[in-house]
Symmetry: C2
DNA sequence: TGTCATCTTGAACGATTGTTCAAGAAAAGT
DNA sequence: ACTTTTCTTGAACAATCGTTCAAGATGACA
């Protein structure tokens, strides 16, 4: 593994290997660990090549951010092969899937959020993806529960996202898996709750 | 504001002004914006003084981390002047307080989490504080609901923390305040729920 | 083969980083 | 008054950073 251009099947496409390396470093060591040289070393390419495919360091990070956002959107993508309520249930349970709850992914998400908080440019990309995610989730709810208004679907999606973000974040801190499972069913309760009386709109529920 | 040693009332204690400056920069520009020179400039002191009070950059960040953790613990501190269930309710509602939901605090928390994820040293401090927070919350629950076992209190505290972390995180992304209010009452429902039948221990609740 | 566009390399640049340190100012102790 | 400790400064150091660029390698097409 050194100078050859086509070694195994995945040796090609250095550009995506560079992006992968950047995401790897970001998830493991934070933004401080993502230097152009470290990315090049991790990807097994020369320093100049990183700047060849990505003009800036910021555009490299931007690409990583877009990649993760794209991945997140797939979680709430419609799946025509399943019934509406099954689509919704699957989407909600995917959050606790083994591929999602890996430290690599969660840590990557956390660092990207932190970057978005510090940089206006990243923040806009992030906010747009966040909106689309809520929209996707609200659509799944609308399909599964035709009796709900669109605003009610958006509101439920927002509530669910709060819990999902909490699960993602808290998983990194090492909360036990039982709590995650209970949180998952809590999102299902929100999603599948019957339409409520509109007169009693404030959030207080009196009985449990 | 220049060479004087005692200007206004808060001119003294340069050490804590340095720490404050570091936390300010961290919350606004992330870890990349926290250089020793930037901290010195923000605090209005010379560069060398930062290294005089804090040996390392890491020990400066560590001090900031401990400070925030300390602040978080106060949120679940017992308050002898109120009834147990009122203590619990107040603690749960404090999360949505105006001082907590500021961008400055939330962003600071987020960046510290990200740092803890990248650095083993910070991670331990963070994990310990997280444990103490859950313990404090579980104690409030135990006092308000004497019929619950300690494990049940810990479990409920863990579930509540998931939602609270979700609120903190999602607030930064700009979720609407109505969703926050609903999430708050969701934490209250968890905390004040009557003891459940122990035989049915898995998380599925059949009716809403 | 020769020509061209694309890909890849690593040296080099200036800027910024964390840290050290000699020197001095301020305060406290005698 | 003098001595000693504590606080404060900014210059200096080596290291690393992001970026640029001339040069070469590779592949496509004639």
């Amino acid at each position: 593994m050194g100078t050859s251009t086509v070694n195994n099947g995945e040796q090609v496409d250095r550009q995506s290997r560079i992006l992968e390396a950047a995401m790897d470093l970001l998830s493991r060591h934070g933004i401080a660990g993502v230097s152009m040289r470290a990315v090049a070393r991790e990807a097994g390419v020369a320093l100049g090549l990183v700047n060849y495919y990505y003009d800036d360091k910021t555009s490299l990070i931007r690409a990583a951010l877009r990649r993760v956002d794209e991945h997140d959107l797939l979680l709430v993508a419609p799946d025509p092969s399943a019934a509406p309520d099954e689509q919704l249930r699957k989407a909600l349970r995917r959050i606790a899937g083994a591929d999602l709850l890996t430290t690599r992914y969660l840590s990557l998400r956390l660092h990207l959020w932190a970057l978005a908080q510090a940089d206006e440019d990243y923040a806009q990309i992030n906010a747009a993806a966040f909106d689309r995610y809520i929209d996707g989730l609200a659509s799944l709810i609308a399909n599964a529960q035709p009796g709900l208004s669109w605003e009610e679907c958006r509101a439920r999606a927002a509530d669910i996202v709060v819990i999902q973000n909490g699960m993602w974040l808290t998983s990194l801190l090492g909360v036990d898996r039982e709590s995650i499972k209970r949180s998952i069913s809590r999102t299902e309760e929100i999603a599948f709750a019957p339409p409520r009386d509109n007169a009693n709109q404030d959030a207080k529920l009196h009985a449990y």
